[in-house]
Symmetry: C2
Subunit: 267 residues, 2 copies
DNA sequence: TGAGAAATACTCAACTTGAGAAGAACTTAA
DNA sequence: TTAAGTTCTTCTCAAGTTGAGTATTTCTCA
C-alpha cells in the first residue's frame, strides 16, 4: 500500500500529451410536426459565425463532473432552462459516441463526447457563453447526407465535425424508435396515439398507416397505458377526439416497431 | 483570418484542467465453444495484480493518432500480433462507449474510450507493457452481474470500472448478433451453419433450435453465401458433413434474428 | 347542413416463427 | 460388421404478426 502511495505521488498528469475533453449535445425535439435540433452560432474563432452543437469543456479536476452531468449543464446553459426543471427532468439523455480525429479542432487535440437528448417541446433558447445566437433548427434545413456531410448550398454550415455527429445522432434516434418506447420522450406526460404517430413520422420522415400503427402501439405490452380521458379538440382539423395515454413501463418494445421499406439500406 | 491566427497563438491547452484520455478494448472471441475476453494482469499500481482490459493512453499531440487506431495498436501490442495480420485485419472493431466518472482512476482524471472487437480465434497473447500476464478468459469465469458488478468469490477481479465496461460490451455483442451479420466476424473465412449457430449459442448463452436457425440463416438475404464445398469431418461427433459458407454482403439482417425468451428483460 | 378529415375497429392474405418430426450421412463402441 | 447414437438438413403445421384496405363514427369548417 505504501508502494501505491509512492507511485501516485510521483505521478504528474502534465507529463502526458495535453488532450482536452469536451461534451457536445445533439438535442432533438418536435416542433410543428418537424424534427428540430438545438444549434448555437459561434461568436469566436475557430469557425466564427458558423453553427454548432451546444457543448463545452468538461470540468476535469476542479469541480470534476461526470460526463452526463456536463452534458446536462451545457444544455441548461444554452437553453436557459434550469437543470431540475420539468422538461429537462423528463428528457431522455444517452451517450452517442466519442469523436477524436486529430485535427478536428484547429486549436489543439480535442476529444469530444457526444450526447443525444430527446425532449418534449422546449422554449426558445437564449444565446449565452461563446454563442451569439441559439435556435431550434429543422433538421431538414441542414441538407445532411447519410454519410455526414452537408449538401452544397446549405445556408447553416456546421462547425467542426458536427454534421457527422448530428447525422450519427439522427440515425441513432431513428433506430431507437424501432425497439424502445423513447418516442414518448418527445411527448408531454399525456399524449394521444396520433401525436405519438406524428413523432415517428417526423423522426423517420415517412407517413405511417394510421390503423396499423394504432393496433401495434396498443398491442405491445407496456408501451402506453390509457388514462381513461379524452383529449380536447384544440388545434385539430376534424375527426373524433382521441383518447389520452401515458408512457408505460416497458423499456423495450417487443415485438419491435420496424421502419417500413429499408430493403435498400441493408447492403 | 488574422483574427483567427491571433486567437490560436494565445491559446495554451495547459490552461485547461489536465484530463488524460485512454482507450480500452473489449476483445471477444470464441474458444472451445465458449465466449472469451482478452484480459491482462496489471504489474503496477493502481490495482496491481488485478486483471484489466487491454488499453492505454492515446497519443495526443506527438504522433497524434485517431481513437480506433489507438485501439488497434493497444490490441496488437497486447496480443503480439502485427496490425496488418490476417486475423486482426478481418476483425470487427466498433466504439462501445466512453467512461469518465471522476475517481474511476485514483491517479488522475481519466476519460476512457472503450472499443469492442470481435475476432476469429486468435493465438495466446503474450504479456507486454505494464502487464505481467495476458490471457483469453471465459466470460463465465468472471461472475458478471447484469448491472456490471462481479459476484463475490470471483477469483479474477477486474480493475477500475472494467466489469461495467465488459458487461456493456457483452450486452452490445448480444444485441448486435440479432440485427447484423457480425457473428461471421467470429468465424474463419469459410464456416458451416452449425459453426455459426455455435457462435450465437456462445454469445447468447442459450441453445437454439438447429432446424429453425438453419432455415433463418439461409432465408435472410445477404447473410451467407454458399461456397459449393463441404467441410471435412475433423473433430466432429457424427452426422453428415455440413456445407461451407462465406459471409454475404448484407450489413443488416432483415428480418432480424431475435433472441428467444426475453420477455422478462423488457420491463 | 353537408363535405371532408381523422380516430378507431375490422378483415384478409402473406409472411414469419416455434416446435416437432423425418430422413440421410456420418462416428463410435460393441 | 453391426447397432446405436449424433448431427445436418428439409418438411410440416399451428400460432402470431404485418401490410393494405375498408367501415363506422365523431368531429371541424365552410
Amino acid at each position: 500500500m505504501a508502494d501505491e502511495r509512492d507511485f501516485l505521488a510521483g505521478y504528474d498528469p502534465r507529463d502526458y500529451d495535453p488532450v482536452a475533453v469536451t461534451v457536445d449535445v445533439v438535442a432533438l425535439t418536435i416542433r410543428d410536426g418537424a424534427l428540430h435540433v438545438l444549434l448555437v452560432r459561434r461568436a469566436h474563432p475557430p469557425f466564427a459565425g458558423m453553427w454548432a452543437l451546444p457543448g463545452g469543456f468538461v470540468r476535469g479536476v476542479r469541480d470534476a463532473e461526470d460526463l452526463p452531468d456536463a452534458a446536462v449543464r451545457e444544455l441548461a446553459e444554452e437553453t436557459g432552462l434550469e437543470a431540475g426543471d420539468g422538461p429537462l427532468e423528463r428528457m431522455h439523455l444517452e451517450q452517442l459516441g466519442t469523436y477524436g480525429r486529430p485535427g478536428r479542432d484547429p486549436r489543439m487535440r480535442v476529444i469530444s463526447v457526444a450526447y443525444l437528448a430527446f425532449a418534449p417541446e422546449l422554449p426558445e433558447p437564449k444565446a449565452g457563453g461563446d454563442a451569439d445566437d441559439a435556435a431550434w433548427t429543422p433538421v431538414t434545413a441542414l441538407g445532411l447526407g447519410a454519410s455526414g456531410e452537408q449538401r452544397p448550398g446549405t445556408t447553416r454550415k456546421l462547425a467542426f465535425d458536427h454534421a457527422r455527429v448530428l447525422a450519427d445522432g439522427l440515425e441513432r434516434a431513428r433506430a431507437k424508435l424501432e425497439y424502445t418506447p423513447l418516442a414518448t420522450a418527445f411527448c408531454p406526460p399525456e399524449f394521444t396515439i396520433p401525436e405519438l404517430r406524428a413523432v415517428y413520422e417526423a423522426v423517420w420522415g415517412e407517413e405511417l398507416h394510421a390503423g396499423n400503427f394504432h393496433r401495434k402501439v396498443l398491442s405491445v405490452p407496456g408501451f402506453v397505458e390509457g388514462t381513461g380521458t379524452t383529449s380536447d379538440r384544440i388545434g385539430r382539423r376534424g375527426g373524433p377526439r382521441p383518447k389520452l395515454y401515458r408512457a408505460g413501463d416497458a423499456r423495450l418494445l417487443h415485438p419491435a416497431l420496424l421502419r417500413p421499406g429499408r430493403e435498400e439500406e441493408i447492403r
